[in-house]
Symmetry: C2
Subunit: 183 residues, 2 copies
């Protein structure tokens, strides 16, 4: 058994916060200042076995990570429903589409049909650049794969069609500024 | 260790679906028919120990249920952000406010400030009646506790101020009809 702290990360090395941590911190800032209410959904877990010890909390003894059927983040911003996923890549020249799953794309499409604002937050880790990439652009690239299109989105396209998000004091990912440009 | 299936319930006896199951089924119906995209958030779990066996999936060996910081359900409906919690009571004459936590109330308040539509879905199990109860009414009862008010909302008040939700074929909790009356 390996022990790890409550916020753990995959394998991004020791270079400060992960994108998820940066977003959580930004969302806390936004909520404290009454600007938006956006949360990361808990990781879905399939529970198999639970112990109920006397006089103490239930302990989950066997469980498995399951695949999320939606995106990681949603919430409300000035009357708008926001829905997005955050992805990091160490790739310098392109963003591999395999970072997304079909059900996440389907979910964002369904949310857009209902009038929601959907996008990806993509961080190029080696460049230390974060972009908001609108869902409509993502869908176009995703669908093109089926007809022989690229399996990744070139960095240049994301830099051009996306909106660069520049860190601010107390606000590692001020993405609402970028959202304002979508409205 | 006690084993239990992936959808388990607290202690509501063997009387068909729980409110949560009824809502999940309703949400699936709504999404399949392109009417709304609403999901239950996964139960938040604090993971302490994980095993990574060779050639098979990671196994969570020690974890604990943690308290949700938000409500259970949110999503988007015709451009509106929806946010709600579902509560069952076996109590016949009133709904005990201890079913809510301060952070859930705070969360709904913050969502309403952002223009979201917030409410509780309350099921009186022994009556087999389900109501949509608007968040504004809930807040009033909640706040009144501090100044000597009741610790529960009388059934008659919920029946009068709430909106009765009557099951339909394929749709155990057609709550969007009640939401339409809030808009
Ligand atoms: Mg993600
Ligand atoms: Mg609940």
């Amino acid at each position: 058994g390996r022990r790890f702290p409550s916020t753990y990360t995959t394998d991004y090395g020791k270079r400060g916060m992960t994108l998820e941590e940066e977003l959580n911190e930004s969302n806390t800032y936004y909520e404290l200042h009454g600007l938006a209410v956006v949360h990361k959904k808990p990781t879905p877990i399939r529970i198999v076995k639970v112990d109920y010890p006397k006089r103490s909390a239930a302990v989950i003894k066997e469980a498995y990570f399951s695949t999320a059927s939606t995106t990681d983040y949603n919430g409300v911003y000035q009357g708008h429903y926001l829905d997005f996923d955050a992805k990091e890549t160490r790739n310098k020249s392109s963003f591999p589409l395999k970072n997304f799953h079909q059900h996440q794309i389907d979910h964002m499409r369904a949310c857009m049909t209902q009038g929601g604002i959907c996008f990806a937050i993509i961080k190029f880790v080696t460049r230390q650049e974060i972009y908001l990439y609108p869902a409509a652009k993502l869908f176009a690239c995703w669908d093109a794969q089926e007809t022989g299109g690229r399996k990744s989105v070139p960095y240049a396209d994301i830099a051009e069609q996306g909106i660069l998000i520049t860190p601010e004091l107390q606000l590692p990912v001020p993405y609402l500024k970028a959202v304002d440009q979508l409205l």
